[in-house]
């Protein structure tokens, strides 16, 4: 390096010539540049001052090198020119110091004694830019100074650049450092975001699973259990209570007891509070009374309601093991957990409860439908049976259009009336379905037949009365004629007994007719004093036909037994009783008619030797139509009529005896004197 420096020094004349060619250009560029000149010789200093000022330099001179450093502390010259030989220190030392402290100031040495050693030492130690020999050539001096300034500027700009670069490097480094930090931060953020996302995904996945699982559950307790497990996994849980009101408006609690879900009916009805409550004392107390165990830390979660028609509040209680104050964060997480599931949970439970209700209702309808004792079925438009009740299955089994159109069905010796009712009407096609109802009218028809028969009998009775009257007249005529002929002198004697026979036969006819008239002529009359013996006597002739297969025992006391009654009605009663007795005996038997007086009661008894009254009829013996008779044999009204009549006379009629060898009816009417 020193060699090169020396060579550049030796090459300097080239530069001088360059300066000479363009002095002003260069001058302008050095104008007002600062130059420090250090020399102990004041003459040198003043001439240098003069010269440099003349050429536009700012020159500062110092005669003592020891003061240079202080000055430099305040000022920054572009070039320093120093003398070599100074009493305080050499120029080499000064410049070398300056090189170390202010390297950007270009150093020039002025010396009267230029030798190789000095040059070498100065270059090596102080990195001197130029050497100027005294006495100097002005142009050379100026050129050297200008070059020095240029060098200094180069250095300066180099310095600026490098410092800029350094600064930039610093910034760059800082930026790099920041970038790392940012990247680290971002990476961390990203990681935690990913983690959070993953967490969120899990949450969502759990929620989705919750929804899916809840959807297929069939029982409330399944849902509660599921929620319970979910909650337990995250937050820990001791017990879970589900208070709800079912469709019967029964309030119930579902809870776990020894790992089993138990349901119990309670009195309390949880009203529709909306917000989730933590540690509700009232609920805690109530529930712990219910399960006979203390409860702490209860979360009361009212479930949401979506359907107004199922508007009964349900509440979920969760007993947790939070440490109340310490883990309030956990509580809020738990509340978040609950809130995120509340709607789903509520929907799930509502779905199940409404399903239960629908099932219950439809089962009830089905049972109702099934328990109707008349056959029922639901038909579509094509007479296909859609539904049927059990009685339908037993009694009807099939249905056809003809049947429905005929409206009457005879099946298994039963008669059904068929009714059709339209259901589910649609405006376009009329009814979609029909309810087909089979009413068993067998009994009704029978009763109706009997009633008809009864009416016929009444009509026949009236007719018999009329006919009897009509017959009486010709019979009287016949008798009169027979009597006339009997007494006629012209009549042959042989005919007389025959004519008398005619007369007697007519008389018999008349007496039967009279009985018939009396019997059929049922008019409401007043009560009369009549004797029971008389009743028997007057009724017996009418019973001749009925009694023709049986023997009759008539037991009448000699003394008349009187009652207040109506002869004809009592005759009817007796007629009925005897008639019944005769019909009850399928084989020849004995009918006993007895009249007696006992304890102020007039008693009339009719007994038979038949098989007795069957149990089937016994309970409704005196009710209308409780008859054992086949159609055409009687009206089935006999005993009920008799009961009416006897009660009208302040009496009573009873079945006195009923056994397999006979029955006995007794009439008791207050006796009158």
């Amino acid at each position: 390096m020193p060699k090169r420096q020396s060579r550049s020094f030796l090459d300097s004349p080239r530069i001088v010539s360059d300066f000479e060619t363009t002095p002003y250009k260069r001058l302008r560029s050095v104008f007002l540049k600062n130059v420090l000149w250090v020399d102990d010789d004041p003459l040198v200093l003043s001439s240098a001052k003069r010269l440099l000022r003349m050429h536009g330099f700012n020159i500062h001179t110092i005669d003592n090198p020891l003061l240079v450093e202080d000055w430099l502390a305040q000022n920054t010259p572009d070039v320093i020119v120093s003398d070599q030989r100074m009493p305080q220190m050499t120029g080499t030392t000064l410049l070398s110091n300056i090189k170390n402290k202010f390297p950007q100031i270009t150093r020039i040495m002025v010396t009267g004694f230029m030798d190789q050693q000095l040059v070498q030492q100065s270059i090596n130690e102080a990195d001197v830019f130029r050497f100027i020999t005294k006495p100097w050539v002005e142009t050379e001096l100026l050129a050297d100074i200008v070059q020095g300034i240029e060098h200094s500027e180069k250095l300066k700009s180099k310095e600026v650049l490098s410092s800029q670069i350094r600064e930039q490097n610093k910034i760059l480094q800082k930026f790099t450092e920041n970038l790392e930090e940012i990247i680290f931060e971002r990476t961390f953020e990203l990681a935690s975001a990913q983690k959070e996302q993953a967490h969120k995904n899990i949450k969502i996945k759990n929620l989705v699973k919750f929804i899916q699982d809840l959807n297929v559950m069939k029982e409330t307790q399944e849902i509660i259990h599921y929620f319970y497990n979910d909650f337990k996994k995250e937050f820990g849980i001791i017990n879970c209570f589900f208070a709800y009101t079912d469709f019967n408006l029964d309030s119930k609690i579902l809870f776990q007891l020894k790992n089993k879900w138990v349901e119990s009916k309670v009195e309390k009805f949880w009203s529709a509070k909306k917000e989730i409550r933590t540690f509700d004392k009232e609920d805690q107390q109530y529930l712990s009374n219910e399960i006979k165990m203390p409860i702490t830390q209860l979360l009361s979660v009212p479930l949401m309601r979506f359907r107004e028609d199922l508007a009964v509040p349900h509440t979920l209680f969760i007993e947790c093991d939070f440490k109340q104050n310490v883990e309030s964060e956990k509580i809020s997480a738990a509340l978040d957990f609950i809130t995120s599931r509340l709607q789903i949970l509520s929907l799930g439970i509502e779905r199940i409860l409404s399903n239960h209700r629908v099932e219950f209702e439809s089962e009830r309808w089905e049972k109702t439908f099934d328990s109707i004792s008349d056959p029922l079925c639901v038909l579509d438009k094509n007479y296909q049976v859609l539904r049927k009740n059990s009685v339908y299955n037993k009694q009807i089994r099939e249905v056809s259009r003809e049947m429905v159109e005929k409206k009457v069905l005879h099946k298994n010796s039963r008669i059904y009336q068929v009714y059709l009712y339209g259901i589910e009407e649609t405006s376009a096609h009329g009814f979609e379905n029909y309810l087909c109802y089979f009413r068993d009218v067998t009994e009704e028809r029978m009763l109706y037949q009997k009633l008809l028969q009864g009416e016929k009998m009444v009509a026949v009775g009236l007719l018999a009365g009329n006919i009897a009257h009509e017959l009486n007249n010709p019979l009287t005529g016949i008798r009169s004629m027979a009597q006339l002929l009997t007494h006629s002198t012209t009549t042959k004697k042989a005919y007389i007994s025959d004519l008398m026979e005619i007369d007697r036969a007519c008389q018999r006819c008349q007496s039967i007719i009279q009985s018939l008239i009396d019997f059929s002529d049922i008019k409401e009359g007043s009560l009369m004093r009549i004797s029971l013996q008389d009743v028997v006597h007057k009724t017996l002739p009418l019973l001749k036909t009925a009694l023709r297969f049986h023997s009759t025992k008539i037991l009448l006391p000699e003394k008349d037994v009187f009652i207040l009654g109506e002869m004809k009605l009592l005759q009817q009663v007796l007629f009925n009783l005897v008639h019944n007795a005769c019909q009850a005996m399928s084989e020849a038997g004995v009918v006993t008619i007895q009249v007696k007086a006992s304890k102020k009661k007039a008693v009339l008894e009719v007994s038979d030797t038949g098989p007795g009254v069957s149990d089937e009829i016994l309970s409704r013996l005196f009710e209308p139509f409780a008859s054992t008779k086949k159609e055409g044999e009687g009206t089935g009204l006999g005993l009920s009529f008799s009961k009416n009549v006897v009660e009208k006379m302040n009496g009573q009629i009873t079945l006195l005896k009923n056994s397999s060898d006979g029955a006995s009816f007794q009439i008791q009417i207050p006796e009158t004197k």
Partner: protein, 127 residues
Amino acid sequence: MSASSTKLNIKKVLIADDEELIRKSLARLLAKQGFEVFEAEDGAIASQVWLDKRPDIILLDYLMPKMTGLEVLSQIPENIRGVVIVISAFVGEKERDAFLSKGVRDFYKKPFDDIFKFMEFIKNQYG
């Protein structure tokens, strides 16, 4: 002829009854007893004959076609009524009172068992 004088003494009887045999047997017997007998088979005829012949004795059935005995009686002026014997199977209280108020005193129940006894009854009353 004594016939006309006897005719004057002969009592006229009207038999009003819808039963032919009764009319005929009564008519035969009464004729034998010397009565002059008229027959009517319903109420309308009875009324007409009654007014025409002015019988002394009227055997009046109650139930007859066209008019009842009571209706017939109410058409006959009091002065020409003669003796009325109501023959009937059944006469209610009301009818009985109505007959009595019109001066009828005798009722004979139909069917009568013995025509001769009935004849005795008539002869006893008006013989």
